[in-house]
Each structure stands twice: as structure tokens, then as C-alpha cells.
Symmetry: D2
Subunit: 236 residues, 4 copies
């Protein structure tokens, strides 16, 4: 295919639905209610309830997912709200050295990542794990085969076992690539990338159910994927 | 304003143009030519030329910006291409332990961040530094005042002096917030965020012209901002 | 006290026992058997057994500590051995780009930190948690009071709850200071510092027993400290 | 050689001088004057002057090394002193959340690393770069050959070009291994390791003289090593 043809195809076919972000966003139950006329220093985040019945996951216990939601996600939300208040104070205080200000910005990055990634993670759980055919086709177009995608996604997860981090299938808006990414922690994200499918690999996501057996959790995660949410994020 | 009213405004007025990503993307001269039907393991990135006359910046020398482009950005692009080849080999080799695979994914994250952030940085340079009134208004809606935005953006930059990192004004697509972010390195990005204005604070962005005097570079950066590119990324 | 007098005291009284490292090292049961005539690329690490009865800890279960030892520590030891082999290959291969070599060096740092910190952690567990009076005096000399030391050590641990990292009381050999340090992960260590007391805050250190209740684990850790090991590391 | 014999050799021959830390420390001109009877929260660090004539380096300009000392090292020393004051305040304030306290501890780690590593770096500069025969022999015992050591040390440095970090030849006190380490930043150090030879790879160490040509700086560094300091750190 010529470069020109391919580019046209991208613009008319592939990219347009991929960037149907309003729909995708709206479909993540429930949506956020902040925007451009908000003072970001004063913004206070309200935790979003679990978007599924906590008893309904396939291989992740109600006890674990409730603890995960309450202790890790809600905790991060509260911390983020506190950090914003401290940032407003520190910026107004001319005695704040820039490196100490950045210490607070670092905390903001970590908590923001935790809030955003947890909400996206919970929103892509609660399904039956069966990827619809058109999604499998889309993914295989970027990864050669669907199995190659799944094997890389799982491998990254296994490598994070015993530590912390996330695995993300994301659409890099700048490079126009659908890729799997390894995230070392809440603050290590791919640049300019829309997350599409997210797997939490912090140990609190599985230790209570599986101890150190991270691969068993990865099986449970795959069995519980809510592929409708993934499809909407991908614009289909 | 009631929550319902505000949310409606967001959906009909603010969010829609903000997410006019195709236009924004296309306006970053030049655009990337990859998409969903690309095998991401085989994708090879081609460096984008500097989108301005390298003699035209206000306080950043031709010598520095050429070295920055060639050594740091083109170097990252070549490295990213090499890493993709190694990833394909490593994934096909069943003897690759997951933690070593992730060592390569980590390199991929770092080089991807370097390529994407450098392209966005160069694309928001080459202007006269004068922010149009409507952009100043937009920014002040999120930060209280335009000066408060600028003072935070500069402060983060000062705190990065003598080290590495980036300052990013970005629109968090998930939280629907326009915020300044501190980036420790190429791989530390805010989650699900569209970069709008980017300042490189690696020492190669200023040492050759200003030595350790990072604040002088920050002045030169502000004097050279191409605000049209910023406006297009913000959808206005 | 004059500066000269204080310095003399340091050299004759305080520093000498602190640096009695051979004794301290030898007392960590069991000792390592590598040294200067070892080819570091060929060195293979042998895991050290738990230096206490796994049923004897006060509030940390046998099941957890066995899993911790086997899955996390022994796993890190095996990974480190594999990484060394890959480093030898990569260094001998002139086609290895330096940034990919450093990807392996990064893995070496992470696994080395995991092996070393885990061995020191296990070696300061298995006791009754009662700090002898002379140790309490030593610690209070650096921290104002013993309680101030404990409150900082615990606070760092609480801040790591839900994530990853270590808390280390260490003697900075260069600054000659006994300080508490926050470690973000296995590779984030204080420079030129001898660890004295180490607390693992990765979630695998407590999730199986306490879920997200990190403070309960911190209590159990304090109740199980083997202070004799700490005293020997401090040279007293 | 049998394990028992080798271990005896280590204990009687190799390890003892290696751990002659008092001598080594005292030889680093000038020594630090803090110790166990210091309140670490109140400790204020005094910058150490450059231990060589700044005009005497072979390929590193007076202008650069003076700027490096004043802006980067002295700046870190001042920042560290400020951070200690903030830590004392924050610990005394019961409203300080642990994660915000750790934000300050993180800054303490970064500044401590910067102070310690810079002092060790300056102290191993100012020589003629000629490694004495007995040191070459010692190093070759750990690395197979002296050239293999140098080629790994240089390769790590090249991989850090364009970014930030340090290369450290260090003696791991716990594993009893003399190894080269890659450091991503001031806070990423090998666990329980005595630094022996240190090369700064932050861009402020070379950009002013060599722009992006990091390998030329590495040559200049090798030509300026003060091997006597290295020998004393190694206990010989």
C-alpha cells in the first residue's frame, strides 16, 4: 500500500473512531464532572463506586476487590485532594524552594496516576472475558496476531509479579500506535497515550487471594475483562 | 452553577473542541504516519525535521537546537527502532525471562517518551511568545489567573534545573482538568493526558547556551513559544 | 564542645566501633563467600536459609515468611544469576548498544538490591523486639530521643503502605550520620551507607497476613526485631 | 581452590584491607565532621572546597568544574540543609500525612546522594590518570582483565550520555564483590556498597566543554583520575 493511501485510510477509517473520546469517556460508568472552568488547585475528587457487583468477578474475591477499592483507590483519592491544598499553599508562599515544590508535584503525579489508573482498571473489569471478534481483529492488526498481543500483555504482567506496576494496552495518540506498555508505578505512563485495557499488578491486586502466584491472578483478570468498555475506549 | 448545568456545558462547549484531536494532531507539522494496521513490533520511526528555522529562536542558539535535534531526538528515534527489533526477538524466544523482557519494555518506554515529548516540544517552539487573549482566558479559567499558571509552570522548571525532566501543561482526559505536570524523565508522564505545552528541562536544552543558569533558558523558552500550536492542541 | 575536640572523639570513640565491619558482617548468619578474586561476571549467588525458626515471629505467619523467602528472595537470587550471564554475553558482543547494556545493568541493580536487602531484613528478624539500653542510648544520640527515631521510622513505613519500598536505619559512612532512609524500591538506596535495621514494605511482606493494614504489620515487625544483629552492625 | 581455603584467604587477606574504612575516609581530603552524637535533624552540612587546582584537570575546563562545584554541588548542600529543617517541622506536626512526609524524605535522599557522590567524584579527580600496577591487578582479579573493567565502566557512561546519572565502581560490602554499577540518579545507589571510583554523567559534567559528545568527556575523566584516592578507598 502506498504511503498516501495508507494515510488516507488512517484518517478516514481508523483514527476517527479511535478518537471518539467523548463517547468512550461517557461510557466509562460513571463519568468525571470536572472541566476547563474548574480551578485545578481547588478541585476535589469524589471517588467513583465500583462499576460492577463485587461478587461477580471470576477468580477475584469480593473481600479483595472491596479492600482494593476502599484502601488503595479511595485512599489515593483522599491523598490527591490533600496534595492539592498543600500545592496551593506552597505556591502562594514565596519561601517555597522550587525543589520542594516539585516534591509536592511528584506526589500529585503519583496520586493522580493512582486515581486515574484505578478507575480505568475497575471500569474494564466485571465482564465475561470474551473478546468480541471485531476487537480481536483490531488488536491482531497491530500485533500480528491476537495471541501475540495476549502473550506480550501476560509476559509484562508476569515480570511485574512480586513488585508494583501496571500493564496497559494503549493507543499512542502521537505515534498512532496501539501498543502494550509496562508501567513501573502510578507515575510512569507512556507519553500522550490513551489507555485502553489496564491490569493492576500491585501486589494488593492479588496477594490476598493468590499470595505470590501472580500468574493465577492474571488468569482471573483475563476471565473478568469487561470487553465492552475496552471496545468503547477504542472507539468501536 | 448546578452540577447538571455545568456538566452539560462541559459536554457541549468545553470538551468537544478540546477533543478535536484529529485537527490538533494534523496541525503539529509534520504528522506521524502510523496506525492500527501497523505491526507495532516492526514499526520504524522516521525523525521529523525541525518545524522552524533554527536561527529564529529568541535566546536559544542555532548550534544548541541543532545539537538537541540531532543528538538527543534523532538518537532517541534510532534507539527506539533498535529496541523494537530486540523486543520482537525476545518475545519469540521462550527462554526470555519476563523480568528481562520488561527491561526492554522499560527502554521502549523511555525512548518512546523521548521521541514523543521532543516532537511536541519542537512543535511548540518557533513563535513570538505572545499568548493570544482567548488562550490566556482559557488558561486562567483553570488556574485562577494566567500569571498563576505561568508562575507554577516556571517554578516546576526551576526545580528541575541541574537535573533532567520536562514541564508539561496537559489536559487530563480522564479527570477533565488542565494542569501543569512535573516529569522526572521521559517515562514519567501523567496518566491519560494530552500534552498541550511542553518545556524540555534536560540540561542539553540549555547548558550549551546558559551553563547552569536554567532560569535564563526558561525566559528564552517563553519568548519562543509557538502559541498557535498550543491553541490547536487545546482545540481552539 | 569545640570542633576539634568533637572530631577527636569521633575518631577515637564513635567511628571506630561503627566501622568494625568485619565483625558485623561475620555476625550476619550466614556470611557470603565471595571476594576480590572472584570474576564478578561469573559469580553465582546461593540463597541463604532463613536465620530463624519461621514459626517464631511475633505476628508474621510461617506461611507468609516462607512464601516471602522462597518466592521473592530466592526468585531475586535466581534472576540475579541469570542477569550476570546476560551481561557477560552483552559486553562481549560489540553490537550491544550502550543503552541496552544499561537496561541489563538496571536489572542487575534491582536484583542486587533485592538480594542484599532481603538478607539483611531476614537477619534482623527473629528476636523479641526489646532494644537493649545501650542501643537505645546510641540511637537517641542521633535522633534526639529514641521515640523520635521510632516515630520517624514508623511514619516512613506507613507512607509506603499500599506500594513498594523499604525503610532503612543506616549509617552514612561518608557523612558520618545515623539516619532513617526511605527507599522507593530495591534500587533506591542511600549513597555510601551501611544498613543497620531494615523493614520490608513491599506488600508481599504483609498482605497475606494483614491485607491492606500496613500499620499492624509494622507492629509485628517491631515485636520481632532481632536487636543483637542490629547491635553488631552498629559495631557495639 | 577449595571453598574453605578461598574463604580463609578472603578473611585474612582481601577483606581486611578493603574494610580499612577509617583510613580510607580520612584520606578523602577533607573529612566530614559529623557523627553519632549529632542530632541528624539539626545537622547542617558545610560544602567542601575542590580538593585540586581547578586549572589542573586534563580536558575539563576550569569554568566547567567551578560551575559544577558551585551550582550543582553547593546547591545540593544548601538544599539538603533546608530539607532537614522541613523534616523536623513536618515530623513534629501531627497533621503531616505519611505520604507527604515521604515526599520530603525522597528529597532528602536525592540531595544526600548528590552531596555524597559529588564529594567522592571531586576527590577522585585531579590526578594523572595512570593506574598503579597493583590497583590494575586488583581490578583485573574481579573483572577478568583490567580492560574488561574499563570497557564496562565506559560503556555504562556512554549509555548515560544525554541523560542523567553516575557510574560507580564499588565494593559491595554484603556480597563482597567489586562491581561496576549504573546509577539512574542521585538516589539510585547499590545497596550496602562502598563507592570506590565515581564518574558523574549528568550533562552539567560535560555539556559546557563538549556539548553532546559524552565520549570525549569520558576520555577527559579517565585522563584526570586521582588513582591514589581510589587506592585508599580500596584499602591499599
Amino acid at each position: 500500500m502506498s504511503e498516501v493511501t495508507r494515510r488516507s485510510l488512517i484518517q478516514t477509517a481508523a483514527v476517527a473512531p479511535l478518537l471518539a473520546a467523548t463517547a468512550s469517556q461517557a461510557a466509562d460508568p460513571p463519568t468525571r464532572d470536572a472541566a476547563m472552568n474548574i480551578d485545578v488547585f481547588g478541585f476535589q475528587h469524589t471517588p467513583v463506586p465500583l462499576p460492577f457487583d463485587p461478587k461477580s468477578l471470576h477468580g477475584i474475591s469480593e473481600k479483595l476487590i472491596q479492600s482494593h477499592w476502599e484502601n488503595n483507590y479511595v485512599g489515593a483519592s483522599k491523598a490527591l485532594n490533600t496534595v492539592r491544598g498543600r500545592l496551593a499553599q506552597a505556591l502562594a508562599d514565596s519561601n517555597t524552594p522550587p525543589y520542594l515544590y516539585n516534591g509536592l508535584k511528584r506526589e500529585q503525579s503519583i496520586r493522580t496516576g493512582s486515581v486515574v489508573l484505578h478507575e480505568l482498571y475497575f471500569a474494564n473489569l466485571g465482564g465475561d472475558g470474551k473478546a468480541p471478534a471485531d476487537l480481536r481483529t483490531k488488536i491482531s492488526q497491530s500485533f500480528g496476531t491476537y495471541d501475540r498481543w495476549e502473550s506480550e500483555f501476560r509476559k509484562i504482567g508476569q515480570g511485574l509479579g512480586g513488585g508494583s506496576g501496571w500493564v496497559v494496552l494503549g493507543f499512542n495518540e502521537h505515534l498512532k500506535l496501539l501498543e502494550n506498555y509496562w508501567l513501573a508505578d502510578h507515575a510512569t505512563n507512556p507519553a500522550d497515550t490513551r489507555p485502553v485495557l489496564i491490569m493492576d499488578m500491585y501486589e494488593h491486586a492479588y496477594q490476598m487471594d493468590y499470595g505470590a502466584a501472580a500468574p493465577k491472578y492474571i488468569d482471573a483478570f483475563f476471565a473478568s475483562i469487561q470487553w465492552d468498555a475496552v471496545a468503547k475506549r477504542l472507539g468501536g
